[in-house]
């Protein structure tokens, strides 16, 4: 049982800051997904914890002990690599057995390999060399190798990146229970927000080496800390509009493309913030043919049917374009139709235009 703590980690390669004052705690048995666009420093972060790079500044604690400067083999860290990094000259069996830390007798080791292989459903390929395995089997072998030593800290570097879509769904279902078998503190790096939301207890959003927000998946989706975070979660991504909210008759209103829309009795902060971004998720938009209160006139430019839902591109009078995602059975929409767009006041998110932070949160960087 050991907690992983990162204290003000900083690392730069030349002018590129890969980690900027990063602080994060992962409890034993907890899965934290590190999510961010490519180049945001996710892999560098994992490699600092694993001991392949040393941080320029800050500390890494495992079970209260600093591991900075310790060689990788002494850190008690297990890792699964994005490219699997299997040993090509060893069988799957030997690959997995190499992850056993303690020197065990041959039969004990074989028994443990067998049990973890059964768990990961790769028992039948234990005698195969890596080149004879499918990508899915390689990935499971790499996971088995990382798990078998029962490490205190488990690092998974985008393990589902190189496997096909079907297997990815399967593994998304299996992984959480698999990872919770032990008491390892798990850091799971991914570039796929769905994967992060499916697997993790908490998500740490990393952008340009800084943690923008660390929170539970539903909180990140519903109450993103900043515009940048809001943009990363959701497909299609969130609609944004430049607005200057004003307080009238006990509510907050904003002009969107010339129409006055009520944003609800939201935050008292809005009035003193001035220029804001208004964010509304495509799924929260409603479309009707009839005008009414809060309806914004728009024209449907294009409709992309995606079976369970239809994504449509809307253009407002002032030229601004938004996307709406509607259940396809709604069936009212056709391209070149003029419609009215509405959204519930609760669905509106306001972000300060200057800082990008969500209005209503105290104005501070998120530090868990």
């Amino acid at each position: 049982m050991a907690r992983l703590e990162l204290n003000s980690l900083t690392k730069a390669f030349g002018a590129v800051r890969c980690a900027d004052d990063l602080s994060l705690t992962v409890e034993p048995g907890e899965i934290v997904a590190v999510f961010g666009p490519s180049g945001s420093g996710k892999t560098v972060l994992l490699r600092m914890i694993a001991g392949m790079f040393e941080p320029d500044d800050g500390d890494i604690l495992i079970g209260g002990q600093s591991v900075v400067g310790a060689s990788p083999e002494r850190r008690g860290v297990g890792m699964a690599f994005q490219n699997f990094a299997l040993f090509p000259h060893m069988t799957a069996q030997d690959n997995i057995a190499s992850g056993l830390r303690a020197k065990e007798t041959r039969s004990d080791a074989a028994a443990r390999v067998k049990s973890i292989a059964r768990l990961l459903k790769i028992e039948h390929v234990l005698g195969h060399a890596p080149r004879e395995l499918s990508n899915g089997q390689k990935q499971r072998t790499a996971l088995a190798r990382a798990l078998i030593g029962n490490p205190e800290v488990l690092l998974l570097d985008d393990p589902l990146r190189n496997v096909d879509a079907k297997l990815r769904y399967e593994m998304r279902l299996e992984l959480p229970s698999l990872l919770r078998r032990g008491t390892a503190a798990v850091l799971y790096v991914t570039q796929d927000y769905r994967e992060a939301m499916a697997i993790a207890d908490r998500i740490a959003v990393l952008i340009n080496g800084r943690l923008e927000q660390v929170a539970r998946p539903d909180e990140i989706y519903g109450r993103p800390a900043s515009v940048a975070v809001a943009r990363l979660f959701g497909d299609p991504s969130i609609n944004l509009a430049e607005v200057a909210p004003c307080v009238e008759q006990g509510g907050v209103f904003a002009d969107i493309s010339g129409s006055r829309v009520r944003l609800g009795p939201v935050d008292r902060h809005a009035e003193d913030d001035g220029a804001c971004w208004l964010g509304v998720r495509p799924d929260d938009l409603l479309i009707s043919a009839a005008a009414g209160e809060g309806g914004i006139p728009a024209r449907i430019v294009a409709v992309t049917p995606m079976h369970e839902k239809a994504v449509m591109l809307l253009r407002f009078a002032d030229g601004m374009e938004w996307l709406a995602a509607l259940p396809s059975e709604a069936g009212i929409a056709r391209a070149d139709e003029d419609v009215f767009v509405r959204f519930a006041p609760e669905a509106a998110l306001l972000f300060d235009r200057a800082t990008g932070l969500r209005v209503g949160l105290p104005h501070r960087r998120y530090a868990a």
Binding site: S71, P72, F84, F87, S98, R101, R131, A142
Partner: protein
């Protein structure tokens, strides 16, 4: 491409035969010469059919060269043995020094690293005679003249750069993640080197070792200057066949066959390992 057409197959066969004859002719001719007497060889026009004789091989193995001017002692078998000892020892030493060095150059960036690596390579394109004169003076002072060790040492000029640069490329091709993965499982860097890096670079190491063995085996000038008769390899020993009563073509041919044989067998044997494992599918490309 479609090779199944009859015309295509015939053309391919003819082309292959031509190429084969072109490249194999010198070796086949020498093999034939080695079973003929000097008189048979010098016949004009030369004949493809002849009565083979083992006299040349007998002379080489017994060390008695019968010429018109009388019996001559030659130490061909001793030379062959020297070649073997010198080349093997040089390659073993170069592997011990070169493989760890290649690993260091491949994995770590250090000050003057590229400069050092390039300097080592530059030994390959400096003419040997350039270094031989000063070297022979130093060797005399150090007492290394005419010693096995002295020649093995100077052979490092041939073998070490070759091994260093070939093996370095193979190490660079191994994903460092594979070694990281091994270390994270609780193994020291030395274990990662010996159990992961070296086996994976195995084909490259074998190729480099084979090549440097051949280059050492074929070397002439170093041994000519730095060693006396009883330490000289076959390349220098072959000079003995240029005798007062003429050049002994038959024996030279037999000597060539005997001296090519070890490297040829080694190459045939190692071929398997050179190809094997070059296409390892550990890391998704």
């Amino acid at each position: 491409m479609d090779h199944s057409g009859l015309l295509g197959r015939i053309f391919r066969g003819v082309a292959l035969t031509l190429v084969l004859v072109f490249f194999m002719f010198p070796i086949v001719w020498i093999l034939m010469m080695s079973f003929q007497t000097n008189e048979q060889i010098l016949r004009i026009p030369p004949r493809l059919l002849f009565e083979p004789t083992l006299a040349n091989y007998e002379a080489l193995i017994s060390g008695q060269l019968r010429t018109a001017a009388g019996n001559l002692e030659i130490s061909f078998m001793r030379n062959l043995f020297n070649s073997f000892v010198l080349s093997s020892a040089a390659v073993v030493l170069a592997l011990l020094l070169g493989v760890p060095a290649a690993y260091a150059f491949a994995r770590f960036k250090f000050r003057l690293g590229e400069t050092i690596a390039f300097t080592l390579l530059s030994f390959r394109f400096a003419p040997p005679l350039l270094v031989l004169l000063p070297l022979s003076l130093y060797y005399q002072q150090l007492g290394l003249n005419d010693t096995y060790f002295g020649i093995v040492w100077v052979y490092q000029l041939i073998a070490l750069p070759l091994i260093l640069w070939i093996v370095r490329g193979y190490f660079e091709d191994i994903s460092p993640d594979i070694e990281h993965a091994y270390r994270l499982a609780g193994h020291s860097w030395r274990e990662a080197f010996t159990r992961i890096a070296v086996p994976l670079a195995g084909p490259g190491i074998a190729a480099a070792a084979l090549l440097s063995f051949i280059f050492c085996w074929n070397n002439f000038v170093f041994a000519l200057i730095l060693a006396s008769a009883d330490k000289q390899p076959v390349t220098v020993g072959a000079l003995a066949f240029v005798t007062a009563s003429g050049i002994q073509y038959g024996q030279i041919a037999a000597a060539i066959v005997l001296s090519v044989l070890p490297t040829l067998l080694l190459a045939l044997y190692a071929q398997r390992y050179l190809v094997e494992g070059l296409s390892l599918g550990a890391v998704k490309g």
